[in-house]
């Protein structure tokens, strides 16, 4: 296996397997089936975190510049990272897939409406964006993940494609309880795909990878005046989030969305089938 791929996998796999282990342990401890929000949330955080590792770790070790000066084309570096990342996220996606089949007839992926929840982990499977604060790049990176996920689930369940073709338009027009969630999810998917090409082009990594944009200020959030000097705790929090843990932010967004849609489902009791 070539050295670059080996290095990429070494960067990403350990954490991926760690998350897997954590989720299994939580299940064993009886956190109520994989479909319980807690575990899904955990899985999602794991996937999100793992996805950001490819570039995030390079930033952390400050090896990014050195890597770009060895005689390997940017394209090859990017492709290798993508491969490693897909490999690392696959076990988690598999677990998610398995978990959705493991509990009774209300599993949406086998019957009724396509449950857009399957796209969530994929949204997180972003290759470039999760370590910058630029909203557009986070969104677009998620779009890459969405496509990956569609492909993955397409392979795992070929019928998915036909269902999608039926379901999404239907979802948009429909009135069931699931519709709200379906609507929001579908809108998001379209939105994400539309921004994909332009939007991943932001942030320090994209700047390096395409040698275009400048160097971004990674320290404190820039604010007008000296007001930021009087809030040391807040500044510290901002700095940490910005530097190291943007993945947490996105994970929280995922969880928030899940909770919102869960709550919305409750507003439309004729929605019927319980998903989670």
């Amino acid at each position: 296996m070539n050295a670059l791929l080996k290095k990429e996998l070494r960067l990403v796999l350990p954490i991926s397997l760690g998350v897997l282990g954590l989720v299994c342990v939580a299940y064993q401890l009886g956190f109520g089936g994989f479909k319980g929000s807690n575990l899904v949330a955990l899985l999602l955080m794991g996937i999100v975190g793992v996805s950001s590792l490819g570039y995030g770790k390079e930033l952390e070790h400050q090896t990014l510049d050195l890597q770009l000066t060895i005689p390997v084309s940017r394209r090859r570096i990017w492709a290798t990272k993508l491969i490693a990342q897909v490999v690392a996220v696959l076990p988690l996606l598999a677990l998610l897939n398995v978990s959705m089949r493991s509990e009774g007839p209300s599993v949406p992926t086998s019957e009724k409406e396509f449950d857009p929840i399957v796209l969530w982990p994929a949204f997180a499977c972003s290759s470039v964006s999760l370590f910058t604060w630029k909203l557009r790049s986070m969104i677009a990176g998620a779009a890459v993940g969405a496509l990956t996920s569609l492909v993955w689930f397409g392979i795992a369940e070929p019928a998915l494609w036909t269902r999608l073709a039926h379901q999404i338009p239907g979802t948009i027009a429909h009135q069931s309880g699931e519709t709200i969630r379906g609507l929001i999810s579908s809108a998001l998917v379209i939105f994400l795909c539309a921004f994909h090409y332009r939007s991943w082009m932001h942030g320090e990594i994209r700047g390096r990878m395409t040698a275009e944009s400048g160097i971004h200020n990674w320290s404190l959030a820039r604010e007008g005046g000296g007001s930021h000097r009087r809030r040391p705790l807040l500044n510290l929090i901002f700095k940490e989030l910005r530097l190291q843990k943007p993945a947490i932010f996105v994970a929280m967004a995922c969880i928030a969305f899940s909770l919102v849609t869960y709550a919305c489902r409750g507003l439309f009791p004729e929605g019927g089938t319980e998903t989670y």
């Binding site: 070539n2 050295a3 670059l4 290095k7 070494r10 960067l11 070790h61 400050q62 090896t63 990014l64 510049d65 050195l66 770009l68 000066t69 060895i70 005689p71 390997v72 084309s73 940017r74 700047g207 390096r208 395409t210 040698a211 275009e212 400048g214 160097i215």
Partner: protein
């Protein structure tokens, strides 16, 4: 006429609203050791990054070995090696594993040199890179840069923060292990603030200020051009004012003048006043740096 190893013409780069580099020109021929000297924020780092295609120039052209680093990325990078100011390595790797990793991307790798340098720096190949001191990490980076025997070695503040012994060894290694192997084809570009230390190695330099190249000279020519004259007169009142020089300072009976290439004129002028003592000396590279860049500031 051989192809320049580095040729930058009219380079422009701006970050958001400010111009980091504004019409910079730089040319380095094979076999030379070129110093890139400038204050912090003068555009030096941006220039280096454009050279390494970490940034794409907004205007102007950058050519390495006659090739465009944006288009022929791999071809250019095969022929150069870079030692940055902060060296990051993958923390799980040992010294030997790091060397193997970098060697795997190179067509040519001199194992003999690797062995010699590891021994010279006394680096334990099995040691994890996180256990290395800053000096040792720089030494490791230098080994990864020298072993592939590149035609161009780019050093970016390579010895900052290192102890004097390590700094010495670094320069000795660049001269010995790198330059001596094939002197006609070994070109060095070094960007540094430790000018005095690199003075012997650098044989030509470019001063950068506010994104422009202010002065490009060989060190020999610079020493001939920029000279300091000390004169002492019998009477403080006799000390003259000298015009059209870089600086002129009076102190009682003493006069100190720094000239830019007009040594004879000023010396003659002073001789006529029959000073008690009159002597001249050249400015060292660091002194030239200060003199040229301070006057620029004064004039603005």
């Amino acid at each position: 006429m051989s192809t320049p190893v580095i040729e930058i013409t009219g380079l422009h780069y701006r970050y958001d609203k400010s111009d980091a580099v504004h019409g910079l020109n730089l040319k380095v021929m094979p076999g030379r050791c070129h110093g890139l000297l400038g204050r912090n924020g003068s555009g030096k780092t941006t220039t280096m990054k454009c050279l390494l295609s970490l940034l794409r120039p907004q205007q102007g052209s950058v050519r390495l070995f006659g090739l465009d680093p944006a288009k022929d990325e791999v071809a250019v990078k095969k022929r150069l090696a870079y030692v940055p100011d902060y060296v990051g390595f993958y923390p799980w790797m040992s010294v030997q594993e790091t060397l193997d990793f970098f060697a795997s991307f190179r067509d040519r790798w001199n194992d003999r040199t690797e062995k010699d340098l590891l021994e010279r720096f006394q680096l334990d190949p099995k040691k994890k890179v996180t256990a290395l001191s800053k000096g040792q990490r720089t030494q490791l980076a230098l080994i990864t840069a020298i072993c592939p025997e590149p035609e161009l070695l780019i050093l970016d503040e390579p010895t900052s923060g290192l102890d004097p012994i390590v700094r010495r060894e670094f320069i000795e290694t660049v001269i010995g292990a790198y330059q001596d192997a094939d002197p006609a084809n070994r070109t060095i570009l070094v960007s540094t603030h430790l000018i005095a230390e690199f003075e012997g190695l650098i044989d030509e330099f470019t001063l950068i200020d506010a994104g422009r190249d202010v002065l490009t000279l060989t060190t020999d020519a610079a020493r001939e051009r920029y000279q300091r004259i000390h004169a002492r007169f019998t009477d403080a009142a006799a000390v003259p004012d000298i015009a059209n020089v870089i600086s002129s300072r009076k102190n009682g009976r003493n006069l100190e003048v720094v000239v830019n290439g007009e040594l004879d004129r000023v010396m003659n002028q002073l001789r006529q006043l029959r000073p008690e003592e009159l002597r001249q000396e050249s400015l060292s590279l660091e002194e030239t740096f200060t003199a040229v860049l301070s006057t620029k500031k004064d004039r603005q």
